[in-house]
Symmetry: C2
Subunit: 236 residues, 2 copies
DNA sequence: GCTAAAAGTTAGGCCCTACTAACTTATTTT
DNA sequence: AAAATAAGTTAGTAGGGCCTAACTTTTAGC
């Protein structure tokens, strides 16, 4: 008896549990497996701590877990992760649009609020700012019923010289990076063209409108692009 | 050595700790002592649990605690309580004014958000709705620097027949009661006159504008009044 | 295929916050 | 003032969530 019971709909998750699910979702892009070490690193905790928590989450039917072989979200775990992700991103969008919250700090604030805000509040926030489809960094907002745009975009670091595209998303966790990107005006919606790429991880030169600038590959890797099919293409 | 150290400014309180401080503040009206049993009842936990927590809070310099003789807030505990109270009430006001959140549910939502929202967010909320001085139930909002209006008002249950006053505040925790008060239109700002009081805890008949209604003493006790000096007076 | 390194796990602590049961102190009643 | 009651405390337990240290399993290199 006592196979892992399926999580009941009203099962309330703790804040750390929600964080684990989010991390696992992010690592596996919704479906793939996540390694213990990766989860630990993402949550900045010791790998040993992950083992215990992962077991508890598996007992709740949120994870499929095989000792020594990482975890995957179950359907119910995926739903829970998307619920948290929706909260997070709606809150980010709301803070930014309704309260003028600076875009490099919405992430941290949302990180705490996502565990406290009710679905009703989140829905009201979303309604108030016109049901946004992406958060301030361009990340897609899951819908109430748990579907998300799972398009995978190319990073700026992977574009060949000559290629053009529109910035769709930037990574949201590093405030300093966000301030720098804003300074350079590399923001979701902006059109960029790769002018040249220096070899050996050298700088990437971009043109944006009449402006020309060059950035390092580490930064470029954090900028996702929807390619415009004019010349350049993706690169392995 | 090791007398209770004063709480450092940046000491981060857990959510339960903030709840204890709020409860103790409410019981002692900021300064008075609070009994273990009262704290326990207010937080809906066992009295035995309070002893342990109260000791920890005292160790942090937030409470003055003498075994078997209840607790009082220290100055630093009072500041912490007021900080949480400010968050709570600003959030309530914001939810109500900016998001059209129903007034019988703002309390519950704020109860969770108050532990997660940053000071910056709370200040932005307050600024956005014009620095309100009271929450939707009429409770005064502490200022950033920790001062509050501590006026004590008379409850409607204590007014004699003939007395008039303005509703300044209603108790905020019982959603059903709030819905009923709204239905009767007994809301902060409304003028009321006590027409008559039936003896033996009987109903109290009020007139409000051209409307006349009668309520029980339990409800009346939850409505605070700023008396208008025309005829009636307070009553023991 | 064996060994070394990497990845993951259990064991044993610790803190927080709650619980029940049993005991102590304070207060009230007679 | 003694006895009864109320209020408050300690003792022992539990679960969540984290840690370090030590051990096991898997993987990768030779």
């Amino acid at each position: 008896m006592s196979a892992a019971r399926e999580a009941t709909t009203t099962e309330t998750l703790t804040a750390p549990a929600e964080d684990y699910l989010k991390a696992i979702y992010a690592i596996g892009k919704g479906y793939g497996p996540a390694a213990t070490n990766e989860i630990a690193q993402r949550l900045a905790i010791a790998p040993a701590s992950v083992s215990g928590m992962v077991r508890r989450l598996a007992d709740q039917g949120l994870l499929a877990y095989e000792r020594y072989h990482g975890v995957k979200l179950t359907e119910s775990g995926r739903r829970a992760a998307l619920r948290t992700l929706r909260r997070h991103r709606v809150i980010e969008a709301y803070l930014s649009q309704a309260l003028g919250y600076p875009w490099d700090r919405v992430h941290v604030e949302a990180e705490r609020l996502e565990h406290a805000a009710s679905d009703e509040l989140v829905d009201r926030m979303a309604a108030t700012i016109g049901e946004p489809e992406v958060d301030p960094h361009g990340a897609p907002i899951p819908t109430r019923d748990g579907s998300v745009d799972e398009t995978e975009y190319t990073s700026l670091a992977q574009l060949d010289a000559g290629a053009s595209g529109v910035v769709v998303r930037v990574s949201d966790e590093d405030p300093e990076m966000l301030r720098y990107l804003a300074e350079l005006s590399i923001l979701p919606g902006k059109k960029v063209t790769v002018k040249s790429r220096a070899p050996y991880d050298g700088p990437i030169t971009l043109s944006m409108g009449r402006q020309e600038l060059s950035i390092g590959p580490a930064l470029a890797a954090n900028v996702l692009i929807a390619p415009l099919a004019d010349r350049g293409s993706r690169r392995g």
